[in-house]
Amino acid sequence: MPADNMTVPSGPKPKKTLSAHNIILYGVVGLVCFYYLLPLWVMVMTSLKGMPEIRVGNIFAPPLEITFEPWHKAWFTACTGLNCDGLSRGFWNSVQILVPSAIISIFIASVNGYALSNWKFKGSEIFFAILLFGAFIPYQVMIYPIVIILREIGLMGKLGGLVLVHTIFGMPILTLLFRNYFSGLPEELFKAARVDGAGFWGIYFRIMLPMSLPIFVVAMIIQITGIWNDFLFGVIYTKPDTWPMTVQLNNIVNAVQGVKEYNVNMAATLLTGLVPLVIYFVSGKLFVRGIAAGAVKG
């Protein structure tokens, strides 16, 4: 891969002095950061307050008295009907959905991309074009027939069904990503391996896989955030027992017993956002490169 061009500014050189230009510039920068950080700040602050303080106070103000009770409640005891086990169940469901979905969809898409770039066969480009077109079809068009397909193969309401759905809808973008990446690898490698007698799978596992760690990481990031954040498929293809975290979050926030507990809602919201946020902060530059690669080349 070429050097990361994101870190080398190429714009006009700034002046070192505290010019009017710089004051305006940093003023704007400050405002922008304020807008983007405000919701996070409010979420955290609200989740640390007690309800009486929320009722009288200012949502932007830090808590006078910090309490972790809302977090505890959101995770362990928030109720939907008689189910008072908080978000924890949804969390584990999401994990169970995420791990196989991410692995299977990435494996299939990488093999697709590999076949499309190195082992073209008659019609392969047509299927690929249909696949890409599929990325633009509104999900609503396909939702109901998929219910029928899942029923026929006995996967409706099961985690396996949702894994299948994620694999299908993740396929266009991931296949494109892998196809472009494999096409960019030097062809000599592939030819040399062919001469040595390696076959389709041999080349894939021994040559291609070891060389494509970066793109796999990128695909992982795209899939992990995408699958974790899904709501629509979760709400339609699973049942209360297997609901992913986003669906359960929406439920807990909307199932109000007595008064609406904004602090618990915000803690629950933060908890749900935590996984992709951690991925984002840990993977940092790779995340940026990932979405840029997924998007720019597409």
């Binding site: 939907t80 009907g81 189910n83 008072c84 219910v147 899942l150 409706m156 099961k158 909307n254 017993q257």
Partner: protein, 409 residues
């Protein structure tokens, strides 16, 4: 939390001892405080047998929940029992053979003799077979009034709708929302239905909803109803809540003067430990003509392959209609029991009023029993817009409404 650990303990016990024990997943949309307390009565009674109740509560009201329930049944992954409003919601599912026939236990238990009014059982019946257990009678025809709000505004608690309208400006002046109406569409539609019966009369309502008379729906009598609703919606501005129970909470706290809502609202007053007649008042039929609608909740049992499960399903069905469970459940829920042969001396004033009206036979069917889901949700769409968007005139709303009735089947 207590409930949760009780359930866990019950699960453990059952798992250890019984052989024929089954776990039944039961879906419903009872998620407010009063509702959850009521459904716990079912769950505890069922857990006291060798079986286990696995709760599948779905939030967001019946509209949202029904979607999840129906898609699972047609997706071939049915729950073992589910709440639905009996009537036409399950029609096609029954016709497609997806629901368990309960005729044998109904006959054995003599349901036809004990269920009162027997119309509830008719709504469960398709081609002479019974497919659901009615568990309660819910009437939409109530308005709930906050004594505190009227005291704050310095006016007497009204005794009927006209007095309420007259008192509304005073409430507004005192910074109250006169009439709390939650944002969800079924609530707007329900409030409209109640005003329809109170102002237009039962005959008009029946003509339109049962006989699907579009001319009546477009007629001058109905125009009066729309005018009244057009007036009432102005009282509801500022109800910035979605869920019905949050709107009820406004009445409980005295932030709102009243709420037109079915008798399930009583469960919320009970949870808040308010006393009928002291903290709040209830007027059946808006105090205009005392009547109750006999809709309600029923449980359906989607067909399963496993005979052990089927036996457990039938056991649950019997349990739901048994006298003790009926009493416990309905007292918590604020609804009326489906059987006339049980003692409800523990009922509060509002429930007693309801029971009296029921006994007098002043009843009408519920919208869900006479209109298809499709028609109901079209009406809901019109009503939620009418209540919330003041630029929609009563005449416009009436025209849309009449068109829907003309197409209704």
């Amino acid at each position: 939390m207590k409930l949760h650990s009780a359930l866990m303990a019950a699960t453990a016990l059952v798992g250890a001892s019984a052989v024929s024990a089954a776990e039944l997943e039961v879906t419903h949309w009872w998620t407010s405080g009063g509702e959850a307390a009521a459904v716990a009565e079912f769950a505890n009674a069922f857990n006291a047998t060798e079986h286990t109740w696995v709760d599948g509560a779905i939030a967001g009201g019946g509209g949202t929940a029904r979607g999840a329930i129906v898609s699972r049944i047609i997706g071939g992954d049915p729950m073992h029992a589910t709440q639905l409003n009996h009537g036409r919601q399950a029609e096609e599912l029954i016709e497609a053979g997806l629901m368990l026939d309960l005729s044998d236990i109904a006959e054995e238990g003599g349901w036809r003799d004990i269920v009162n009014p027997v119309g509830l059982l008719d709504s469960c019946t398709v081609d002479g077979k019974i497919y659901c257990v009615p568990v309660n009678i819910h009437s939409w025809q109530w308005i709930w009034l906050s004594h505190k709000a009227f005291a704050d505004a310095g006016v007497d608690v009204p005794a009927n709708w006209d007095e309420f309208v007259a008192a509304a400006p005073a409430l507004e002046a005192a910074g109250k929302v006169p009439l709390a109406v939650g944002q969800q569409s079924w609530q707007s539609s329900g409030a409209f239905g109640v005003l329809n019966v109170a102002i237009g009369g039962v005959d008009l309502w029946t003509k339109i909803n049962v006989e699907k008379d579009a001319e009546a729906a477009a007629g001058p009598e109905m125009a009066k109803v729309f005018e009244a609703v057009g007036n009432a919606r102005k009282f509801s501005q500022g109800t910035n809540v979605g869920d019905w129970n949050l709107a009820t909470a406004m009445v409980i706290n005295g932030e709102a003067g009243g709420q037109i809502m079915g008798d399930w609202a009583q469960g919320e007053f009970a949870v808040a430990e308010q006393v009928a007649g002291e903290d709040y008042s209830c007027l059946p039929g808006l105090g205009v003509n005392e009547i109750i609608s006999t809709g309600g909740d029923a449980f359906y049992f989607p067909k399963q392959d496993d005979p052990a499960i089927e036996a457990a399903q039938k056991e649950l069905a019997k349990l739901l209609i048994s006298p003790e469970v009926q009493v416990g459940f309905n007292l918590k829920k604020g609804s009326l029991p489906v059987r006339g042969d049980i003692d409800l001396s523990a009922a509060n004033d509002c429930m007693k009023k309801g029971l009296e009206i029921l006994a007098s036979g002043n009843i009408l069917p519920d919208g869900n029993q006479v209109l298809s889901s499709d028609t109901t949700s079209q009406i809901e769409d019109v009503m939620v817009e009418f209540w919330n968007d003041l630029s929609v005139t009563p005449a416009q709303a009436q025209a849309s409404y009449a068109a829907i009735i003309a197409d209704a089947d």
